[in-house]
């Protein structure tokens, strides 16, 4: 499959992987007092922290999948160590399982897809994304960009359900985040292995995710 088509598929919210039920932490952030004007800064903060970590993990996974028998588990373990919130890990696992489920149906013979079974735990979203990127032949930069774009679009799309926002304004948030997004893509590509993976966290986002998990009336998973 052409890599360009693969990149479009992964960026499309209509891809059936369960993403529509996630808000990238926006729902609990709003519950904690954020408003419409804060969303662009929230997007930016995510891209520079958890976004960078996840994009790096996706790229490292992709690179390892290009060699047969590569150890993706090491990336997964390094990423888990950088996700201190249990609910955030669970949400990432649901998204990763959604991607893995799709990949097993579409590319069952691909060695990277088959290797998902040896992980021992459900793949986190960036790890599954790296595997799918390998299956469709995407480049490092395409996979990093897909990871960051998906995170930003998840927040922007959820904002339309949660806030009085004009959909055009939400689209503008994404475009305005473009320069930051490209800067983070470039940084993610410079990482050489799990031991030097960035560990930038967003403590408030993590706190919000814990608050969200204990609420009974949720619209989004996380």
């Amino acid at each position: 499959m052409p890599a360009e088509l693969g990149a479009l598929l992964l960026a499309d919210g209509r891809l059936p992987t369960g993403g529509h039920a996630h808000s990238g932490g926006l729902e609990p952030a709003l519950a904690a007092g954020a408003g419409p004007d804060d969303v662009p800064r929230y997007l930016e903060a995510r891209l520079r922290t958890v976004g960078l970590v996840e994009a790096t993990a996706a790229v490292l996974t992709l690179r390892r999948c290009r060699t047969a028998g590569a150890d993706v588990d090491e990336v997964q373990v390094a990423l888990r160590a950088r996700m201190p919130s249990a609910p955030a890990r669970t949400a990432s696992e649901l998204l990763g399982r959604g991607l893995a489920r799709l990949a097993r149906r579409l590319w069952p013979e691909h060695p990277a897809v088959a290797a998902l079974d040896s992980l021992g735990a459900p793949p986190l979203r960036p790890v599954a994304l790296g595997v799918v990127g390998a299956a469709v032949g995407m480049s490092d930069a395409q996979v990093a960009r897909a990871s960051l774009y998906d995170d930003a679009q998840t927040v922007a799309a959820a904002a339309l359900k949660l806030l009085p926002v004009d959909p055009t304004d939400a689209t503008r948030w994404l475009l305005d985040a473009g320069p930051t997004l490209e800067e983070i893509v470039a940084r993610a590509l410079t990482c050489t292995g799990p031991d030097t993976m960035p560990a930038t966290t967003a403590p408030l986002v993590e706190q919000y995710s814990l608050d969200h998990a204990s609420r009974s009336r949720r619209i989004f998973v996380a």
Binding site: R14, L15, P16, T17, G18, G19, H20, A21, H22, S23, L94, R97, G98, R101, L102, A158, K161, S216, R217, R218, I219, F220, V221
Partner: protein, 226 residues
């Protein structure tokens, strides 16, 4: 001819909000869980509203009832992107293996919402008399082509001035042979008929006789003229 199945039968319950889907689920659990190993997945606008109602009804061990978040789109979660539901169903199936019947309740936000054939093997569409006697006549994919149409809360008919027999015959007229069942939780005979229908489709599925069909979207259809 379908092969003998290797996983539990999956039954969807769809229909507009307030027509009694959760009560139908509670009834099914109460009537069938002694003879069939069951689990339930609920889809809601606010996550676990329906799951909590079912847990409070104490008709099934609470850990066998799972709520799925739908991002305010229950209709998407049962039709266009069924991933979250499939993961929930598969988790229940592996935790409580061997299950025999998994019931998935839709969120009830949409008269036209039906389940994807990728998620359920058969589906019940639930209307109620209080929603208006003319709803069945108006049709729609679930009303016309779900495996079973329920006309629920028939005991309320005198209070909302609906003629149940008329509503049932309107439904029969648009359903091209698919069954219609008038139901009330205060009418034990109707509950037996509902339970028997589920027993019959589960048995058919196990025997490899059940053919899943899709009620389909709200597509325009034409009648061929000779």
């Amino acid at each position: 001819m379908p092969e003998h199945p290797t996983r539990p039968f999956r039954l969807g319950v769809a229909g507009p909000v307030g027509t009694g889907k959760s009560t139908v689920l509670a009834t099914l659990c109460r009537e069938l869980s002694a003879e069939l190993s069951m689990a339930v997945v609920t889809n809601d606008i606010y996550t676990d509203e329906d799951a909590r109602l079912l847990r409070a009804a104490e008709v099934l061990p609470v850990e066998r009832i799972k709520a799925v978040e739908t991002g305010a789109c229950p209709h998407t979660a049962i039709r266009d992107d069924i991933t979250a539901n499939l993961l929930a169903v598969e988790d229940l199936e592996s935790t409580f293996a061997p299950l025999e019947l998994v019931v998935v309740e839709s969120g009830g936000d949409n008269l036209t919402a039906t389940f994807s054939p990728g998620l359920v093997d058969a589906q019940i569409f639930c209307l109620d008399v209080a929603g208006g006697g003319d709803v069945a006549r108006k049709g729609g994919p679930g009303i016309e082509r779900a495996d079973l149409l329920l006309i629920n809360k028939t005991d309320l008919a005198p209070y909302v001035e609906v003629d149940v027999d008329r509503m049932v015959s309107d439904a029969v007229a648009v359903r091209d042979g698919f069954p219609v069942l008038a139901l009330s939780r205060n009418d034990p005979a109707s509950i037996v008929r509902l339970s028997d229908w589920v027993r019959q489709v589960v048995a058919g599925y196990r025997a490899g006789r059940h053919v899943a069909h899709d009620p389909g979207p709200m597509a325009p259809h034409t009648h061929a003229h000779p």
